[in-house]
């Protein structure tokens, strides 16, 4: 096996080494579990680590490989899963007290597909409570930290998956993206994150935040790894009525091609400029320049309705949240809290006490916003008009895609921000997703890849957007840009934490105990 550490390798490299018999899945899995044990006390990327389960799955794949069974490309490559996806045998908390200790009796379709493809599941990664947030600071179990600077957040909601992959605790991970929860953490941790076309990956078994926006996708260190993982989890699922019943786009082939000659690239006027950090803008413009040099044709496109995208999102999303989260009521599973000083509390009182004790402030804020927006007398003004703006956003995308094959923008307006910096200012936090939200509103696919470091030495994310079901275009363009950037930066961007393993090994508890 080439290279210094097993954990430094991409999933594609591990896959080749496994196929060639140069290593075993048990070895690879153990290497990652060891690294989790030494580093995750600092990073808190995981809420639960399932070392026995992961090793058993790894040994099973090794046995099947030895027996000559045909195996998928990523068989034996371990994966981390955001704690929003249901997993048999592992708790699923959604980062919330209200589901503390709940072990689902069924697997999410994505999880079932990972298992069927032979990927050992290392554990469940941290997130903002019910995926509501952009920093993981809203996790009821404490924030994750950014491997580039542990005083900073890894972004959110999927900061746990992004931090784990950036710090080499897992070669690949699964995230979910409702307004940018895969792509923004990708930008802030220097990883690749993809939100597939809405309906491209089954939502069955993913605890819903906003059903019409949620989409699971890959979190990786390379574009090819993302495509390989996308292929494993994507495709039609009869258990999800919103799943697309058509052959999935050829993403792996596109990621291997990486040719932008003649590709029309649209720079979205509204997603950049004011409010974007200078270093973010600089890296973005350089990347556009690299694509131009490589033969792409750059045009500027305008999507005027994107100016209302954030406001629209904050009507649609909380409305769906208020209904989706109604089921957490202490009657059937999860936390049950009793009101103080009530002898024989009614079901209603127990529900109220449980929801008061079990939900954090951000979740309550969104439930209240959504309940209000759906109320009779307000529905038309809020939810109704938000749906209209949503169709305008989709129309703007349609028009832009007449002029360009893919659209580009910075992924997030800033690099990783400090812990606590935006915690008391929800609007500042919400602005983190200003460039990622339009894709969720229209359902189109988006990809973020690292585009170098900003003036503060922190990674910058470059976002690509493609038309519905044209996810392969993202992978093609991203693979080309990735190659150009590797040349420019002299190799992959590596967070300092990766080189400081020894200094960080300290008193770390057994991860399973913490979960």
């Amino acid at each position: 096996m080439p290279g210094p550490e097993l954990t430094d390798h991409s999933a594609a490299e591990l896959s080749q080494a496994l196929a060639a018999g140069e290593t075993t899945s048990a070895e690879v899995t153990r290497a990652h579990l060891d690294r989790i044990a030494s580093l995750d006390g600092e990073l808190h990327a995981f809420l639960h680590v399932d070392a026995p389960g992961a090793l058993a799955a790894a040994e099973d794949v090794d046995r099947r490989r030895a027996a000559g069974e045909p195996l998928g490309a990523l068989a034996g490559v371990p994966v981390a899963v955001k704690d929003l996806l249901c997993t048999v045998g592992q708790p699923t908390t959604c980062g919330s007290r209200i589901l503390e200790g709940w072990v689902p009796p069924y697997d999410a379709t994505v999880v079932a597909r990972l298992r069927a493809a032979g990927l050992p599941i290392l554990g469940k990664t941290n997130l903002d409570e019910f995926a509501m947030g952009s920093s993981t600071e809203h996790s009821a179990y404490g924030p994750s930290r950014n491997p580039w600077d542990t005083a900073r957040t890894p972004g959110g909601s999927g900061g746990g998956s992004a931090a784990a992959v950036a710090a080499r605790l897992a070669p690949v991970a699964i995230g979910t993206d409702t307004g940018g929860s895969i792509r923004q953490p990708g930008a802030l941790t220097g990883t690749v994150g993809v939100k597939p076309t809405y309906g491209g990956v089954s939502r069955y078994g993913i605890v819903a935040m906003a059903s019409s926006l949620d989409q699971a996708g890959p979190v990786t260190r390379t574009v090819l790894d993302a495509a390989l993982l996308h292929e494993v989890i994507g495709g039609h699922d009869p258990m999800d009525s919103t799943s697309i019943d058509a052959p999935p786009p050829p993403v792996v082939e596109a990621a291997r091609r990486g040719d932008v000659t003649g590709l029309r690239i649209g720079v979205v006027k509204e997603l950049g400029g004011e409010g974007f950090q200078a270093g973010v803008r600089a890296r973005f413009e350089e990347a556009v320049g690299l694509l131009t040099e490589a033969g792409a044709q750059v045009v500027e496109v305008s999507c005027p309705s994107f100016a209302q995208a954030l406001a629209t999102y904050y009507l649609v999303m909380p409305s769906e949240v208020s209904s989706n989260l109604a089921r957490f009521d202490a009657m059937r599973y999860g936390l049950r809290a009793f009101p103080d000083g009530v002898e024989l509390p009614s079901a209603e009182q127990v529900m109220a006490a449980t929801r008061d004790a079990g939900f954090g402030d951000e979740v309550k804020r969104r439930i209240i916003l959504g309940t209000y927006a759906l109320s009779s007398g307000y529905y038309d003004a809020y939810y109704g008009s938000a749906q209209q703006v949503r169709s305008l956003v989709a129309r703007d995308f349609d028009r832009a895609f007449e002029q360009a094959d893919v659209l580009v923008s910075p992924t997030a307006p800033t690099t990783a921000f400090r812990m606590g910096e935006k915690l008391d200012d929800p609007l500042a936090m919400y602005l983190q997703d200003v460039a990622t939200i339009p894709a969720n509103l229209a359902g189109v696919p988006g990809l973020s890849l690292p585009a170098g470091l900003a003036e503060d030495g922190l990674p910058v994310g470059f976002q690509l957007l493609a038309p519905l079901q044209a996810d392969d275009r993202l992978y093609n363009a991203a693979a080309a840009l990735e190659r150009l950037l590797l040349d420019r930066w002299g190799g992959p961007l590596t967070p300092p934490l990766v080189g400081q393993v020894d200094s960080l090994v300290g008193p770390v508890g057994t991860p399973e105990v913490r979960a």
């Binding site: 249901c86 069924y106 999410a108 906003a210 009525s241 109604a326 059937r332 599973y333 024989l344 079901a347």
Partner: protein
């Protein structure tokens, strides 16, 4: 509750000052194999919480998938109620917290029902014969049923005062069709009967469609009776009460009468009717207040983002229309015309539950009038004596038709026919066997018999020769031939006499 308890005004007296306006909401549980949005069996009862899965338990992450068979049933019900069928419609979430609802929202339909703008016609008894009333259907929509709560302890069996409650989610997710009428304003004294006839008609209709077992006692057909009064001669609607889960036809009628009396009492006393849900009590025929339905009730409906719109193709709808069975009211009208029955005759036939029996008897060869005569007089009397339904008597329409055929052929007369009925009902065999065994045949046409005997002799010269030679026992073969020709309606002894008279 803010309701002031005031006296009841007798129903007939109330109608001198007020007109009732009714609205009926009927929930029909479909008898599909599986639930509305998951693969669990849609069965009544069962050990609590055994017909459940992540979807109908509303576990985090689970998603609904529409049951196509339920959509088909909904469309067929809509078509049978002369509704328009939506080209595209959506499911909506009805949000409210209740422990027997796993998701704390019910997947239902709101402003886009699958069927709308329909009508049906019901018939009730008037002083001058049957009267028909058209009931306008506003909508029929699809939704999922809730689970069931069992409140233990306390005196009322309701949640208030209970020590604890048990929840059973077997029923959660069973497909329901809710059928909602437009306001029904019929002459007040007909209102209770119209309400009952309408619910009965819906029952007959869903049974004919085969989409539900429509058992009111098991809750697979549930009626809510909305009622308001307005002063006679005015147009504006009064405040309504909603009496929930009235679970027999008779109770529907009684609930309307009681609410008319109760509303009139409140209005006479200068009070205001409270818009509220009420419970009907079978034992006393009265209602009592349930939840107050103030303006605060806001279900925050919005389209369910988990489900794609349902878009039944016109080809499919047309195919379903083409294969609708003949519906009960339609069939009764057709049969009445075919049979030439008067309204009174038809009503008596229907009232005796004899429509199907008469139809089958006619199909077996009888005339409609004679079939009606036997079933509604002779057999109705016997059913009455035995205290059973007509259809439970141990005689088939084919038997009745055969007995009538014997009468028509002159083999028996009406008086003998009654004895044949006795025999068949007593299990002595078919009408022919009873006639033979009891020796009831009458042969009035000696000429026909003589001709038959002559033909038998001619056809069997060998046998005839033997008899002429004194072998009288050989006559049996000729008797058999004659009986065969006479289809068993000849008196065997008389045939023997005739044969011997010719040959000896």
């Amino acid at each position: 509750m803010t309701t002031v308890e005031v006296g009841l005004v007798p129903f007939e007296e109330a109608l001198t000052r007020y007109e009732p306006v009714m609205g009926l909401e009927v929930h029909v549980e479909l008898s599909t194999a599986t639930k509305m949005f998951c693969g669990c069996p849609a069965l009544f009862g069962g050990e609590p919480n055994t017909h459940v899965c992540p979807v109908c338990l509303g576990l985090p992450g689970s998603l609904p998938v529409v049951n196509g068979a339920a959509v088909e049933s909904a469309i067929r019900i809509g078509l049978a109620l002369n509704c328009r069928i939506a080209e595209v419609c959506r499911f909506a979430r009805k949000n409210y917290f209740y422990p027997d609802m796993p998701k704390n929202y019910q997947i239902s339909q709101y402003d886009e029902p699958i069927a709308f703008d329909g009508w049906t016609e019901v018939e009730v008894e008037g002083p001058d014969g049957p009267e028909r009333y058209r009931v306008e259907i506003e909508r029929a929509h699809m939704e999922e049923d809730t689970g069931k709560s069992l409140h233990v302890g306390g005196s009322t069996g309701r949640i208030h005062g209970a020590e604890y409650s048990l929840l059973d989610y077997n029923r959660a997710g069973i497909p329901l069709i809710e059928i909602v009428t437009r306001p029904i304003a019929v002459p007040g004294d007909r209102a209770p009967a119209v309400a009952r006839a309408y619910v009965q008609q819906l029952r007959d209709l869903v049974l004919a469609l085969g989409v539900s077992d429509a058992r009111m006692d098991q809750g697979s057909l549930r009626a809510d009776v909305n009622l308001s009064l307005r002063p006679v001669g005015t147009a504006a609607l009064g405040t309504r009460s909603e009496t929930k889960n009235v679970n027999s036809f008779r109770s529907v009628e009684r609930a309307v009468r009681f609410e008319v009396s109760r509303h009139a009492g409140i209005l006479d006393a200068g009070g205001r009717v409270v818009q509220e849900t009420r419970h009907f009590h079978e034992d006393t025929g009265t209602t009592s207040p349930g939840r107050e339905k103030s303006d605060a009730e806001d279900y925050r409906y919005f389209p369910d983002p988990d489900l794609a719109p349902v878009a039944p193709s016109r080809e499919w709808v047309d195919a379903l229309r083409a294969t609708l069975p003949e519906l009960p009211a339609e069939r009764r009208r057709r049969l009445q015309a075919e049979w030439g029955f008067s309204d009174l005759e038809m009503r008596d036939t229907a009232g005796a539950g004899a429509v199907d029996l008469v139809a089958a008897t006619v199909a077996a060869g009888s005339s409609a009038q004679t079939a009606r005569k036997w079933w509604l007089s002779e057999l109705a009397r016997r059913a009455n004596e035995q205290a059973v339904e007509l259809s439970a008597l141990k005689i088939t329409p084919e038997d009745v038709a055969r007995i009538q055929a014997l009468v028509d052929a002159g083999a028996i007369n009406d008086k003998l026919a009654r004895q044949v009925f006795d025999g068949v009902l007593a299990g002595e065999g078919s009408p022919d066997e009873v006639v033979a065994a009891r020796g009831l045949a009458v042969v009035s046409d000696e000429g026909a018999l003589t001709e038959a005997v002559d033909r038998a002799i001619e056809a069997n010269p060998d046998v005839a020769a033997k008899i002429r030679d004194g072998k009288v026992a050989a006559a049996g073969a000729l008797i058999g031939a004659v009986m065969k020709e006479m289809r068993g309606q000849a008196d065997a002894a008389r045939v023997r006499e005739l044969i011997l008279a010719r040959l000896t």
